[in-house]
Amino acid sequence: MIGLPALYALGGAIFAAFAIVGLAARRFGNAAFWGLLAVSFLLGDRLGDLANGGLALAMVALAGMGALKSAPVPTERPAQNYPSWKLFGPALLIPAGTLIGTLALRHMSIGGVSLVDPKQVTLVSLGLAVVVALAAAMVWLRAPAAAPAIEGARILDQVGWAAALPQMLAALGAVFALAGVGDTVGHALQPLLPEGSRLIGVIVYALGMALLTMALGNAFAAFPVMIAAVGLPVLIHAQHGDPAVVGAVGMLCGFCGTLLTPMAANFNLVPAALLGLDDRYAVIRAQAGTALPLLGVNIVILYWGAFR
């Protein structure tokens, strides 16, 4: 069964190649950072929890010391003028391949065993599409063998430490859960909730989802906290709100928060780096005008929908 282990091996090999490019370019901080990530991908399941923690903290130390250089290495452009299909072909093979893979691989099995881990069909399809697109590009563009690693590292160095932030935030969420942060936030919110006020309950729940998501960078981490603190006791039990609306629209209030926070690095900081924006908060600024009115609309939907 093809699943996450195969993807991690592919990812580890790619990050290792980026580390080698960093070494060759004498960018030792970058090489160490991507090298550690490669070790995590290739050997993480064998290292044990404490060693994985040490590895993550070593990456944090490199980033904290400012050891990563972000200025892109100048690249040599081929002089050749390629026909459009040779450029767009591989670029479209990635989404098209993922789509076809997702649809085709879901039900494929050999002797009763699924060919692909049913829970990871999309990511596995993405991995396969990436390999096929890369092979096609190599052949069609007659690129030198080292070009994919050099060009990929050029983009990833631009993203820098932010590439590892989502994974670190997931780890932070686990520590928060262990320490019982959710229950404590719930207790801290109780004085804000006057008995019997439906509207105030809805507003505390919706704004709480958005604000806690902004602090944690992830609506998935905020949801269990807010549903236990406000959603369940106040909106669903005391006020008899429709749990489907409280759950679904509450999560979407959190998504409004995701649009507003630098903690959601992969959505907000990484694109600013990928697109070479001078202001690292430019994407958040572009989103604020959508996220804030949308949060208001979600509060209205929640209020009317849950108490029809």
Binding site: L123, A179, V181, T184, L252
Partner: protein, 217 residues
């Protein structure tokens, strides 16, 4: 109450602009220790979750392929193609992308597009080229169009994916409510994601039309 120290560190660390990775790690260690856990146990818990969540970093595997075709001139070609298209504007192009992204995400196909695989190599250069047809591009205008390209991808995927029944957020909501004895059908949850999805399209779409007007000034 001490365990809320971590939230304070997160907010404070950002305000004084420390490196976010550093802020997150310090917040995690401080929270664990404040809760009375031994330091090494906190590091182990951090490492365990870091390892089990590696899949969130998987999308960067597209970079070697994307970098290779960029080197061969993909971004310039994508821009040149849009520059020849009649009636194209940055706002209209991004509205079309918003609709496509919301619809495909609603069908569960969130991974077919994204910041690294479509926005940087295709959408942003196309939107920039479309904007350059109306007005001579300044660096500030170019950066604004790029920021809106990234924003449009995020809005599209966030407010489309929850309509898909098997999306992880739907499963999370269902799982948590089931844990307290409330059994919901995924369909109930995804139907209630539709009004917000429509509102997101209307609000962000209107802002993209305003972007066109702003670019023409």
């Amino acid at each position: 109450m001490f365990v809320l120290l971590g939230l304070g560190i997160l907010v404070g660390g950002f305000l004084v602009r420390l490196n976010p990775l550093l802020v997150v790690a310090v917040a995690a260690l401080a929270t664990g220790v404040a809760a009375g856990l031994p330091l090494l146990k906190v590091v182990a818990a951090f490492g365990h979750a870091f390892n089990t969540n590696r899949y969130v970093t998987i999308p960067y595997i597209v970079l070697p392929g994307i970098g290779l075709i960029e080197r061969a001139g993909l971004r310039e070609r994508a821009g040149a193609m849009i520059a020849r298209l009649k009636g194209a504007s940055a706002g209209r192009l991004l509205i079309a992308y918003l609709a496509a992204r919301q619809i495909t995400a609603a069908l569960g196909l969130t991974a077919i597009a994204g910041q690294a695989q479509t926005v940087r190599p295709l959408v942003a250069p196309m939107a920039e080229a479309a904007a350059a047809r109306d007005t001579p591009p300044t660096e500030a205008r170019r950066q604004l169009v790029r920021a809106f390209s990234a924003a449009t991808d995020n809005v599209g995927v966030f407010f489309g994916e929850d309509i898909f029944l098997a999306m992880s957020s739907i499963l999370l909501i269902r799982g948590i409510l089931e844990g307290v004895g409330i059994v919901l059908e995924p369909l109930d949850l995804s139907l209630w994601a539709i009004p917000s999805a429509v509102a997101a399209f209307v609000i962000h779409g209107a802002r993209l039309l305003l972007l066109d007007r702003r670019l023409r000034r």
